[in-house]
Amino acid sequence: MRIDCPCCGLRDNGEFTYLGDASPARPDGMDASPAAMLDYVYRRDNPAGPHRELWYHGAGCRSWLVVTRDTRTHDIAEVAFARDAARARDAEKAVP
């Protein structure tokens, strides 16, 4: 498998470490509920199909990436810097 790191190009998946589903957002702050945290830490959709997931290019540029990959075929549709995706996520959250 190869992942097209936005700054390093196509690299073997051996250069990366995997974290998992990028969909859950951390219930941040002192008012987060244990139930929401439980959901965030443990429960997953685990889809057979497109999956947004976090990978870390540890043997390369040390960027965290959000990779959209089909779990049935391993086909990768998109790779983005996690930081950019996170900023977009937070911007969306900020909208009332």
Binding site: C7, C8, G9, R11, D12, G14, E15, G58, A59, G60, C61, R62, S63, F81
Partner: protein
């Protein structure tokens, strides 16, 4: 305990105790690979602060006469070289040990500067078989149409994270290896180079 003296504060290269100079590997013909062990030079990581990339670029042009290289690129100049190393990060190299001492001050508020001069062991790899040799360990495409002089990559070789950059189209490469891994890296490099024959020399800073 023997051998504790002297207390002269002598620097040791990361290659010390690991490498031997001379001709090795395949005996006949010219060695296909030349390995130059580079002495210590000033090396630092520069990480730009949010929104300060233009300012950093300007400051580096003033200081070294080279612009911040783009992703995957390196720029070499006599005052110092800049090698991209991660988003918003560059390695800066100066010829002498103290060449970069002014940088933290100069870049204050624009970028974080962290000395790495002792953290890497550097080797220059040249010779007719240099590209083939590296292809044994590096999974990136080193074809001249893809990776040529001025290109750099952060990747891994033999389970060791390294950075390499190509300095000319001979081709010649420089590899920066984390200091503590120098022994294992050398073991791989020499095993891979043996079939071409290789020549090792020390190159003073």
């Amino acid at each position: 305990m023997s051998d504790s003296a002297p207390t002269t504060w002598q620097q040791r290269s990361g290659w010390a105790g690991v490498t031997q100079t001379g001709r090795f590997g395949r005996a006949g013909g010219d060695p296909g690979v030349r390995l130059d062990l580079l002495g210590r030079q000033a090396l630092a990581t520069i990480i730009v602060r949010p929104g300060e990339e233009a300012a950093l670029d300007r400051l580096m042009q003033e200081r070294l006469g080279v612009a911040l290289p783009a992703t995957g690129r390196a720029a070499f100049a006599s005052a110092g070289s800049l090698v991209w190393s991660a988003p918003g990060q560059w390695l800066v190299m100066g010829p002498a040990a103290s060449a970069l001492a002014d940088l933290p001050q100069r870049l204050a508020g624009v970028a974080a500067v962290t000395d790495q001069s002792d953290g890497r062991a550097l080797v220059r790899v040249g010779g007719a078989d240099a590209r083939a040799l590296l292809a044994k360990g590096v999974s990136i495409d080193l074809h001249p149409s893809v990776f040529a002089a001025g290109a750099t990559a952060v990747t891994s070789v033999a389970h060791i994270n390294i950075q390499l950059w190509q300095v000319d189209d001979a081709p010649t490469y420089v590899l920066a290896v984390p200091r503590g891994f120098a022994g294992s890296f050398w073991s791989w490099l020499t095993a891979a180079a043996a079939e071409y024959g290789y020549d090792v020399q020390q190159v003073p800073a």
